[in-house]
Amino acid sequence: MFVRTAWLVLRKDFAIEVKSLEVLTTTLFFAISCVLIFAFAFVKNGQAPEDAAAGILWIAIAFSGTLALGRTFERERYGETLRALLLAPAPRPALYVGKLLGMLALLAVAEALLVPLIAFLFQAALFSRPLLLAGILAGGTVGFSAVGTLFAAMLVRARSRDVLLPILLYPITIPVIIGGVRGTAALLASPVDEAGAIMWIGILTAFDVVFVTLSLWTFEPLMTE
């Protein structure tokens, strides 16, 4: 029941998204714009500082992730479908998991575009340790999306939700973003700081466990009126 509900929610979001591609295209475009803005901010004499690529990557993920979260739930609010979802005789945490998986899939697509783009634009050796990079990306994205999905879902009902989402999301998820940035920077160091990257993956995993547990635990009472 649980897995099936989560899967159905994911499939529903996927079906809607495939028809319009609204969230995907806007998110990707915004992510690329972020990279360009930060490139202008950091590049001097045609060369970016060594660590800049790691920071730019995670800023682009965080900013475009916030945009995507807002858009996905705006769609639910507009169609008043979140209420219908909540009325369904299904376990509430399963709805959350379905939404979270959709968010993760979306950000995975964004990262699949961002990582090669940044590696290309900044001559960053991001692909020297693909497994560690995947671990850092997964750890950071899960933590960010876990909190983001919870708060975006709650904010559907709140006034001034566009402002409140980043206000709530950034302070809480900054530890995860720091972990992502420092872990990626460890991969970009020469020689590659593998121990550092593994330590940051551990910290990211710890945060993911805390954030996902808290979200699953609080989703039910939070979404009950």
Binding site: M154, A158, L164, P171, I172, L214, P221, L222
Partner: protein
């Protein structure tokens, strides 16, 4: 608590008058000298903040799962007191850092995460203020995430090698310094408890007024 509030407030007042004398009489730390004495003020501020965060976190969890309005009053009070003492710690920290490190601010794990913690609870208050109806639950979730971050902030100095002194400093204090430190910590914890209860009392009164107002509306 209502009866004890006045006397306890007097006790806290006396403690805050006596504490400077105790601190002045405590020995100078050999390398830092006078500036080290800010420690008697800085660290207890953070203790008071952690206490307020704990109250806010527990009250938020109770409010979220049981829906008790009083728990919500405790959570608001906890968040406000946490922001107050956090601001205190964030002001006194750089004052010390300017002398000990030569700079006001270092992008060190402890400093950064402490600033984050302060931001989370400011966000909590902003959600309550601007979130409209139903914002209490949203705020409660924010508080839970903030409370989950707090132990990480506390332990961060032991996990990483940071420029901020680690948590071993306090248990290894000499008695001549530990005494005044314990005294000022107690004073801060007492003050924060009193502020908390006063704020909860105010929130309860507000709830009462709201209920009376609604009852009056119904009669009309």
């Amino acid at each position: 608590m209502k009866k004890a509030f006045g006397p306890l407030l007097a006790v806290a007042g006396v403690m805050f008058v006596v504490a400077p004398f105790l601190i002045a009489n405590a020995p100078y730390e050999s390398t830092m000298g006078l500036i080290q004495k800010i420690f008697y003020y800085h660290v207890p501020s953070w203790f008071a903040m952690y206490l307020a965060i704990a109250v806010c976190g527990v009250a938020s969890a109770i409010y979220l799962f049981k829906g008790t309005p009083v728990a919500d009053a405790y959570a608001t009070a906890g968040a406000e007191v946490a922001v107050l003492f956090g601001a205190n710690g964030l002001v006194t920290g750089p004052l010390w850092g300017r002398v000990a490190w030569g700079v006001w601010w270092q992008w060190d794990v402890r400093l950064t995460t402490a600033l984050l913690l302060e931001l989370i609870f400011i966000a909590y208050l902003m959600v309550r203020r601007f979130g409209g109806p139903g914002a209490e639950k949203l705020a409660a979730a924010t508080a839970l995430f903030g409370t989950a971050t707090a132990p990480f902030v506390y332990k961060s100095v032991d996990i990483w090698r940071t420029v901020h002194p680690n948590t071993n400093v306090i248990p290894t204090l000499r008695p001549s310094m530990g005494g005044p430190f314990a005294f000022s910590s107690l004073a801060f914890l007492l003050l924060s408890t009193l502020l908390l209860t006063a704020r909860v009392h105010l929130a309860k009164r507000q709830m009462m007024v709201d209920q009376l107002y609604l009852a009056h509306e119904d009669q009309l």
